[in-house]
Amino acid sequence: MARHRNYRNYAYEDDLSDDVFGHSVEDYDISVSPGTAEQFMFRRSNSRDPNLSAYMVDRCGRVEEEEEEDEDNDEDDPLTSLQDYRRPQLDPISEAKLSSCMDQLQSILGENLHEPTAVSAIVQCNYDVDRALDYIFSQEEKQDQRKNLDPFGTEGTYSHRKEKEDQVRHQPPVITHISRDSKKEGTADSTVSVVTPSKDKTIVGFATPIKKSRESSPDEPMEVQNELKPPEPGKTKGTGKSKEQVRAEAYEDYNKRCKGKILLNLVVIGHVDAGKSTLMGHLLYSLGDVSKKSMHKYEIESKKAGKASFAYAWVLDETGEERERGVTMDVGLTRFETDTKLVTLMDAPGHKDFIPNMITGAAQADVAILVVGSSTGEFESGFEAGGQTREHALLVRSLGVTQLIVAVNKLDNVGWSEDRYNHIVGKLKHFLKQAGFKDCDVAYVPCSGLTGENLVTPSTEPPLKQWYNGPTLLNTIDNFKPPKRELEKPFRFCVSDVYKGMGTGINASGKLEAGKLHSGDKIAVMPSGGHGLVKAFTIHDEPAQLACAGDHVTLTLSGLDTMHVGVGSVICPPSSPIKCTTKLKARILVFNIRIPITKGFTVLYHYKTLNEPAVIKRLCSVLHKSTGEVLQKKPRCLTKNSNAEVIIHTYRPVCVELYKDYKDLGRFMLRYSGETIAAGVVTETSLAIKDGSIAWQSTLSKEMSSTAGQNCFLFTLR
């Protein structure tokens, strides 16, 4: 086997005879020769290369159409015109000005930048970026009006909110178009009013009807995004009447599937043996999601194994090993419904050794339930240093969970004592506030997982009724505020599991973090760079046509090799793939650690479902905790609870997004010898190779990034 082969996910049995097993090549110490790199590395945005996105500016209105109908159609291919293109001859100073302007334009327009247009615009506007930008937009508008093939045509070139609003106003076709749709839909009358361009909402294709139906809570207006929006290809455009019809039906189906409910991803966390699995198992049983027959089976079997109290936990702990040991090892995934929510439940393991698994679960969650055991000594052992109650709470907060339920479990063991309950709540309240949870976003519920008190129906236990008549656990779950979803961005799907399905193709399950996905969409898998097709997908074992951000989906992929997809891969549209890099700059918050972080620390980099060894290559600066001010440049080491900017190198390319582009995809955790040492957000990435040197890719100018960085840094964000 050649050394550049990817061993991860390699299905050995497929093409190897039994005698070729281990090979003694240590893959990450061998550097790739430039020639090999040139040949195999995937270059994301090298504007000089004729790339896919380069031609989108010109004809973005037709990209979708062509992709779907005929790819070989290239009568007036701008690719060729781009190849013939020569830069104008300029003196060195102008050349430098030009390149700096180009960088800025590129950072604003992303990959949609069409170089010849941009260069001429810059030269015409005398190296003034703002004017050049305006010029480019006005040019594109003209072009689109000329072509005017699709009423949505200009959509892909939008990048600035203002322009967008203006253009929506200029474009009556948008409204007529949609209303035509709604007539077809018949039932979806609520969507029509939404689509009318209004002051504070921008409508992109079909995005909003879904948003509206899912985020129907009146007290939670859609997040208005003031930041620069990365240009996206018009993913939602229909190309012909028939297709529009299909799409419209898809939405209708989806709404039906959702039953107007809000999708919620819930992770259950807490110290080992706090009763997480039992609590959730009992809740599922009480809701009728587990049949009496199978519950009876678990009861008998667990009794046989001498662990009668684990019967409910067996609902979620399904592998033989987990049942035998009585410990959850991997995240158990299931679903249930409340009155207003469709909940995807993830039961995380509490044991210290399985925190990597817990992170993969927590990284997919919007909200969390923190289970604490209230038995004498149990709460203390979980809460004091070394216990997982603290670590888990900090982890989920750093991973972007803002709403939390604290389930004070096992109160039956202490005779439903109010004092004990208040003692625990008091201690946790103080700690959670420090950890960054708002008081109003944390709810406390007394309950018992084993006896099932106060889970679905209010407790009948007299000692508890005496002092508690608040909501049940289910009611509290129902009261969660709907999470914000990034529906309008290009889709990002994080793979958490890969396996062989029944039929052909590979099955990949995971969570759709942003955007929406249709069956039949073309996809790219990063960081391997493989391209393929979504043949079909299921959401919780039900076939579906459309998935939106927040859904847990199982995709059936075709046209891909198993080597291309692995746990931790990200599936994204080929036209706007996720960034891939081995070097990234990040702001980190150092946790309570025993040994200080120095340069050259080998850490495990946890990002979504991926964990990858990485090195902290450089400590750039120590920052002030709340203001983000630089306290010390080039520190020798980072001590506990400090805030810092560092450069991290990974051994293999990893997918990342900047925190300001995709909040959820810009977060990561660093672990070292079984402890979580820091949480961080990505501020800059470098392109893997660009003309032999590394260029930092920052989409904001220097001063902007420093202020924006302060504002959005996760721990100061309240």
């Binding site: 050794d353 200080p596 060894p613 001590t639 010898s673 590394i694």
Partner: protein
């Protein structure tokens, strides 16, 4: 038909002026290249020749200047008591490393990276099947790469219960398939906890008390301990722990260095002045009664020290004044980051 070809072997002694050295960590072979300086009947004067140096082969090394480090090296290499070979298997679900730890280096013999499907509601069989396949691959790796005649102890390290599960399965399979190598050496397997199956977790494994008791004298374990001490001093008294050549030289000038940690990579530098600089540093610290520990860059701990600029020192007394001084050292590495 072409004419028949005859070949003959001759044993001869060559004297070569060394021009290039290559070391193959996998085959443990040192290859030296150079010109012949002493003509004999077979090899002409000045002819280029390449020789493989192997274990248990006699050779004479002639050097104009022997520094302390070099002499120490030779002494250590000739001492058979220092040799303790150790095998380690680091694993977590889906990733395994089979590693050989010798006195002066750590070699990854095999890396097994497989996709194990995770548990899904109602479909656990794929997970179990995938796991067994992964274990099978690991066992094959162990049989292939670990020579039980040489190795005294094999550490099986993993988070959670994977190691127990793996060992049970391995012994079961060994009994079934009659793999004598495993069944007869059952006592050599030691289970240790590690946080992951990645290579750098070996550091934790070697620092584990149960392991250190077994291989107290080996160099690898000693290095891990020294580096740990450095980090704990850095945490407790940052003014007593410094790294980077500039800081350490300052401390050495004040004869404040108690323990110097340095990687041997620096002494292998092709640039003579830098090599001399480090040798001088080591000598001066030794003269002042300091302890010098030369780390092997082929060990995990040495690798980490290498990342930490290759030289670090624990001081006898705090020197806060060093910290405030701006160094050029880090600016050099800045540029490196942007252009490498």
């Amino acid at each position: 038909m072409t004419g028949s070809v005859s070949s003959s072997k001759v044993r001869t002694t060559l004297t070569i002026a060394v021009e290039g050295i290559e070391f193959d960590t996998q085959a443990c072979m040192l290859r030296i290249k150079g010109r012949n300086v002493e003509e004999n009947q077979y090899v002409k004067m000045g002819a280029y020749h390449t020789i493989d140096l192997e274990l248990n082969r006699k050779f004479t090394l002639i050097k104009e200047y022997w520094d302390v480090i070099a002499l120490e090296r030779v002494e250590m290499a000739c001492d058979p008591t220092q040799h303790a070979d150790l095998g380690a298997v680091l694993l977590h679900e889906g990733l395994g490393h089979i590693i050989l730890v010798t006195s002066s280096m750590t070699v990854v013999r095999a890396k097994i990276d497989m996709n194990v499907p995770r548990k899904r509601k109602g479909f656990c069989s794929q997970h179990d099947k995938g796991l067994l396949k992964f274990y099978d691959a690991l066992i094959q790796g162990i049989l292939r790469h670990i020579n039980f005649d040489v190795i005294k102890c094999i550490l099986i390290a993993s988070p959670g219960f994977v190691k127990e599960q793996f060992c049970d399965y391995m012994f079961q399979q060994a009994l079934k398939s009659d793999w004598k190598a495993i069944t007869e050496n059952k006592s050599k397997f030691v289970l240790v906890h590690s946080s992951s199956g990645h290579k750098h977790a070996l550091k934790e494994v070697l620092a584990d008390p149960t392991v250190t008791a077994r291989l107290a004298e080996t160099k690898a374990a000693g290095e891990v301990k020294a580096l740990d001490t450095f980090f704990s001093v850095l945490q407790m008294e940052p003014d007593r722990a410094y790294y980077g050549i500039h800081h350490v030289e300052k401390a050495s000038e004040a004869s404040a260095v108690e323990t110097l940690l340095v990687t041997d990579e620096l002494f292998r530098s092709t640039d003579l002045p830098t090599r001399k600089k480090y040798v001088k540093l080591v000598e001066s610290i030794k003269d002042n009664g300091g302890d010098v520990r030369v780390f092997s860059s082929l060990h995990v701990s040495g690798e980490q020290l290498g990342q930490l600029s290759g030289v670090a020192a624990i001081l006898r007394f705090p020197m806060p004044e060093i910290d405030s001084e701006e160094t050029d050292d880090s600016t050099e590495s800045d540029e490196e980051t942007f252009t490498s």
